[in-house]
Symmetry: D2
Subunit: 148 residues, 4 copies
């Protein structure tokens, strides 16, 4: 595996994931180079991130403060090609939780358990009307940390 700035110890980093969703690669997600297009990785990250937020009750089921998490940045390291018809597992974990934001890590494994994608991204909890950051309540923090 190549070195990435957000992973110190790959074995430990990998062991900290438990939440995952299955992703089946679609034909339209490949490109003329014969494998999955680079852009598609972020489709899978989004799908997994939303399922993670839903598991914490933070998506489509917002608290009365009506704040919502928006994506501030995203990054992906392509560790190994993914092909049409591959069944991958996309893992998500909470790496860090701040006052108004959260840093989320991503990992995709193929059917052999090999690392295909690693990534991360920060989300900020904002008020949909003002666009201003809103503190994450203790209740939300607890729910986020409890997602398995």
């Amino acid at each position: 595996m190549k070195k990435v700035s957000y992973i110190d110890n790959i074995a430990q980093w990998r062991s900290e994931f438990s939440f995952s969703i299955p992703v089946k690669i679609r034909f339209s997600e490949t490109d003329m180079f014969g494998h999955v297009n680079n852009v598609s990785a972020f489709i899978y990250f989004e799908e997994a991130r939303i399922e993670f937020l839903k598991a914490a009750g933070m998506f489509g089921n917002q608290d009365s403060d009506a704040a919502m998490p928006i994506v501030a940045d995203l990054q992906c390291d392509y560790q190994q090609q993914i092909y049409f018809d591959d069944n991958i597992k996309l893992y998500v974990k909470l790496n860090h939780i701040g006052n108004t934001s959260l840093d989320v890590h991503y990992m995709a494994l193929n059917e052999k358990g090999e690392l295909c994608l690693t990534g991360r991204g920060r989300m900020v909890y904002i008020h949909p009307e003002t666009g201003k950051p809103v503190p994450l309540s203790d209740s939300i923090k607890e729910r986020l940390m409890a997602v398995k």
Copy 2:
């Protein structure tokens, strides 16, 4: 060209188009078969259709009745492969205008002027809240028929 139900005389049909937009094929719109993915044709149709509606003042600039055109059906015939980096022209014309709906035709030509895609689809003019069809005013009909 293969026979399609919505074209009687191809020479005449083709001559009736004048409105078009340029479309540059993106790498992410190809697939592992080496050419443009079937799904992408409908991305181009949508882009051209919206530009056509905008030219008639029917998109993002709705009349006071606030009705909007929604897509009822779409079809596409793949006449010839399209490749990455091709510059195609996507033509749109009004085939028929009814009381509450319009039938729109599509044609894509490559740089050699060869037919790549033909298609059509009906749009219904509906009230966004009730979801019910709304008659197209004479003013809208005139604007639609005037798009060149």
Copy 3:
């Protein structure tokens, strides 16, 4: 349900489907109108069509003649809006099988069993090098008709 040219009797048409795949709507497949973008229907059709072909041993596992099915045309009727997070079932059936081509029908049902999408499209069995149509062998026809 609105009238479509390829359906005579909707109850009978619907009863003839048995093969289906589950499709989970992704957030990136919605658009600013708040529901699934029109283009996405064809992503789902493609995914279902390929699974259907795979079930008949016609995809990625070609016979020694090395011919392959390519899409000649596609059409979709939007019967009812689909929303983010909906779980739909996408059905595929063989409507007609010719000498070198097949006509395939599509149906999407939501969780309430309501019709969301209907569609159809023809595929032609061609030789990848010459691009010429190749007859479908009796063995392939039998496998196609046996997919459930």
Copy 4:
């Protein structure tokens, strides 16, 4: 603008771009939140990156060594929302050129000249058959540095 690790001085960083392509936002690239979906940023990055490589004669027109640049990682910081129908300019510059890889930076400006997206990513020059990194020749390096 928010702080990002790959930008020291934003005014200087911004002034170093000159190559750009126009990007017109498509309706299908929005999502139900009403603006451009996060994933779409990487579609635009890819389109701009390929045009940049083509300007250096490194895409579709490979040297006799037949090596090709592949994406090793990508990241994007969302500085400001982008909306349907926006016309943005996507800038690309060479940030660093190594022995077998290049680090490329991205910047998207809207029509008011405001920063919408910043990003970066590394490409590795590899042999398509062995998958091994191949040194970038002096001629390629010169062409890359000359793209304006």
